[in-house]
Amino acid sequence: MKQEAFEQRYSESWEQFEKATGLLNGGARKRSASAENQHLWTGFDQQYRQICQHLAIARARRYSIELQQKLNQMALDGHRHFYSEKVPIAHTVLQFIVYGFPQAIRQRWKPIAVSFLLFFGVGTATAVGVYYNPDLIYYLMDPQQVGEFERMYDPTNDVLGRERNSGTDLMMFGFYISNNVSIGFQTYAGGLFFGLGTLFYLVFNGIYIGAVAGHLQRIGYGEPFWSFVSGHSALELLAIVIFGGVGLSLGRSLIAPGGYKRFHALRITARETLPLVYGGALMLLFAAFVEAYWSSMTTPPVRLKYAVGIAFWAAIAAYFSLAGKRQ
């Protein structure tokens, strides 16, 4: 069959197919209002398969490049809609929180444990060091920064944490979100440098937080500091540990890809660890909320604040170790 005859015979069905894919390209709104377009979708799968067949024929018979390109484009459009990934979001999110996230944690507990030991090990060592050596803090931070922290947690303050005059918790909420979640994502992304970036962020933040804690404890500002951080500490620190664990996994997949090509191993690990990234981000969002609205309050008694902090640690530990086990 000559090209001209081929085109004439099928041009009508091609037009119909293009109309259908055009509507799909138009987006969800048009799609839902498509009762009158129903006839376009009935048999979409068959039409798509026919287009693929026509493309193969056009190539085999060496029809003109222009026609081949047109059919290629139509097949691509069909392929794009036919095979696109559709996830029912609300249901997935719920499933994720109820059992997906804790299961993912347990599945990757080893790198997370390594990250935990690294972060808390460095943090504790620095805190102890700074506590017993008054000068050490000044090797780690400049005096201005130290002074700032001292002002923040001065026991004579009315409000804990960063200075706030008109008490706008919302501002601090925004700050904590953009600052902390960005640190989390950076810790995660650093894994692509064979884990070195992740290692850097874990150690750096461990030293930083440990130094502040040790110093404030030493100069007698321990109570305001601990009562401020206790509420959100579990959520925030564990989230950083999780991001660290994922980053270390990514790095490991590049260093020791096992039976795969390096980038293939990376892809598999990135896919498998994505739930942990979502979960970590959620934890940091929640932590920012707690930090802005609960941790900064000075009215609750210190004991209550410690109790809430411990309750968070216990709840998260129980959630990670028990939730979703019976699935």
């Binding site: 069959m1 000559k2 090209q3 001209e4 005859a5 390209n25 798509y48 398969r49 693929c52 067949q53 493309l55 193969a56 190539r59 060496r62 029809y63 003109s64 490049i65 222009e66 081949q68 390109q69 047109k70 290629n72 097949a75 691509l76 392929h79 794009r80 095979y83 696109s84 990934e85 996830v87 706030r164 008109s166 706008t168 918790d169 919302l170 501002m171 601090m172 909420f173 925004g174 700050f175 979100i177 953009s178 979640v181 960005s182 994502f185 995660y188 992304a189 650093g190 692509l192 440098f193 970036g197 990514l250 980038f263 990376l266 892809r267 990135a270 896919r271 994505l274 990234v277 979502y278």
Partner: protein, 230 residues
């Protein structure tokens, strides 16, 4: 199927057993799309900061949250909801797809955008640019981890009208390759200047004898199966 070896196309084989080809987008178009997105985000931030400026510290808080959204959420949301296109990508005409050609989903979009800091590292997207220049499908590091590829969305080509051309059989039998060459020459007659057309047509002198571009166009029309209307 013949495709020049140096072409930057991505080939995907579908379950239907045909091979689809997609033109991969390179550094320049991707950078342009990034610039447009950056400009859109900057304008968005300026506008919201003006709108929120009357709300004191609460306004700053909201602005920080919106800034955070632009920084990490903009690309993920647009790529998932607009079939792989941010606003910048849409105006440049490129799209993020999975390695199998399907539009990017939550998973791919999240991985490629949350790993963005390594592409930016150590500044000005140096690692990302190097990765795009060095990998076969122009992928940055985030794309490599997410198995995504940025491709051009081909514009629907305007097909030339053949009505004004009187089909004419070539006097001698031609091989398939020769026919292909003549047909694609005919199809591109609008894109090629007249002088260049004549020059190209002259190259066929040893094959067809004395010939002209117009005559070749007529042969092309005949070869695709058009026949003189009587």
């Amino acid at each position: 199927m013949t495709t020049p070896l140096l072409d930057t196309t991505l080939r995907i084989e579908t379950p239907e057993g045909v091979e689809l080809t997609l033109p991969v987008a390179g550094l320049a178009s991707r950078a342009l799309a990034w610039l447009l997105d950056a400009a859109i985000k900057a304008v968005g931030l300026v506008v919201t900061s003006i709108l929120l400026s009357g709300f004191g510290e609460a306004g700053i808080g909201l602005l920080l949250i919106i800034y955070f959204g632009f920084l990490w959420g903009y690309n993920v949301l647009f790529e998932v909801l607009m079939q792989g296109q941010t606003l910048g990508k849409r105006s440049v005409g490129i799209r993020v797809v999975h390695a199998d050609g399907t539009p990017v989903g939550w998973r791919g979009a999240s991985i490629r955008n949350l790993l963005r800091p390594v592409d930016v590292f150590p500044g000005c997207y140096l690692f990302g640019c190097l990765s795009v220049l060095l990998t076969k499908n122009f992928q940055r590091l985030g794309d490599l981890a997410a198995a995504t590829i940025v491709v051009h969305t081909p514009k629907t080509a305007v097909r030339n009208a053949w009505n004004d051309i009187q089909p004419l059989p070539p006097g001698i039998p031609l091989t398939v390759e020769e026919q292909e060459a003549i047909v694609s020459f005919g199809e591109r007659r609008v894109q090629i200047s007249d002088a260049r057309s004549e020059e190209l047509a002259a190259a066929l002198k040893p094959l067809l004898g004395e010939t002209s571009a117009a005559k070749l166009h007529q042969h092309a029309a005949w070869l695709t199966g058009r026949r003189a209307k009587t």
